[in-house]
Subunit: 144 residues, 2 copies
């Protein structure tokens, strides 16, 4: 469904949503252990996310990554799009150029409603929403 990169990114963002803020920054070094993702790889992802304002960062001693209020408004789908690109979620299941509502491929009708429903859920759910679910124990994050 998603690539490893997206999954790592989501895990990282969720961890930051729960455990960081402007006054409590988290270093890659620590984060990578908590969420079980290779350090150097996570660095790259976080930099990518920082460039796209999904996470905030500051350099130097006492530096690290954290989420501010604006960061919390990003949706799950935003993050996936940044890391994986839009193609996977936007193109037809068979990647047929000419597939559309008017001239649907055989899989189109079959899955379009459930698929759209799923993508809309991901588009509407913000990082903040997810972190509230976690705080209220409506969801869990076993980070292995």
């Amino acid at each position: 469904m998603f690539t490893n990169s997206s999954k790592y990114a989501l895990k990282a963002v969720l961890y930051l949503a729960l455990h960081s803020d402007e006054n409590k920054k988290i270093m890659v070094k620590d984060l990578c252990e908590r969420i079980n993702v290779p350090k150097a790889y996570l660095s790259k992802l976080l930099q990518d996310l920082a460039r796209h304002e999904v996470v905030s960062s500051s350099k130097g001693p006492k530096g690290g990554f954290y989420l501010n209020e604006q960061n919390l408004t990003m949706s799950v789908l935003d993050i996936v799009h940044i890391i994986d690109g839009r193609k996977k979620t936007e193109s037809c299941l068979l990647s047929l150029e000419d597939c559309s509502r008017h001239k649907p491929c055989p899989l189109h009708n079959l899955v379009s409603s459930s698929r759209n429903e799923m993508l809309n859920s991901l588009k509407d759910k913000t990082v903040k929403d997810l972190s509230l679910d976690l705080k209220h124990k409506k969801a869990f994050l076993p980070l292995a």
Copy 2:
């Protein structure tokens, strides 16, 4: 969503469903042009599909690939599982080992209903069903 390999396989099977039978076999050489897939790559996929009884084949002159009645009963999901493996469709969105109904990850509740609906559609739809949709012009197959 699916890999190229799966998409190619589905396109090939659908083409065979529409244009082949025991008395009208189709050679890779021809098939690859019709569905716009590299020949050598398609060969490999077809052999894999033949081994798993998704398609039928016969060697030698007048040989080629075709679908018999049994082949037509395969589901879309069967084919995807054969080519891509089961992991993609069966594991949690974040690939968390311990994610389950009882201890759902934050994305689990969010998408599980629509995701299951989608996967069930793919599981229940056979190649024969799809080919009937095409024959009745309920769907189209622009093979580019």
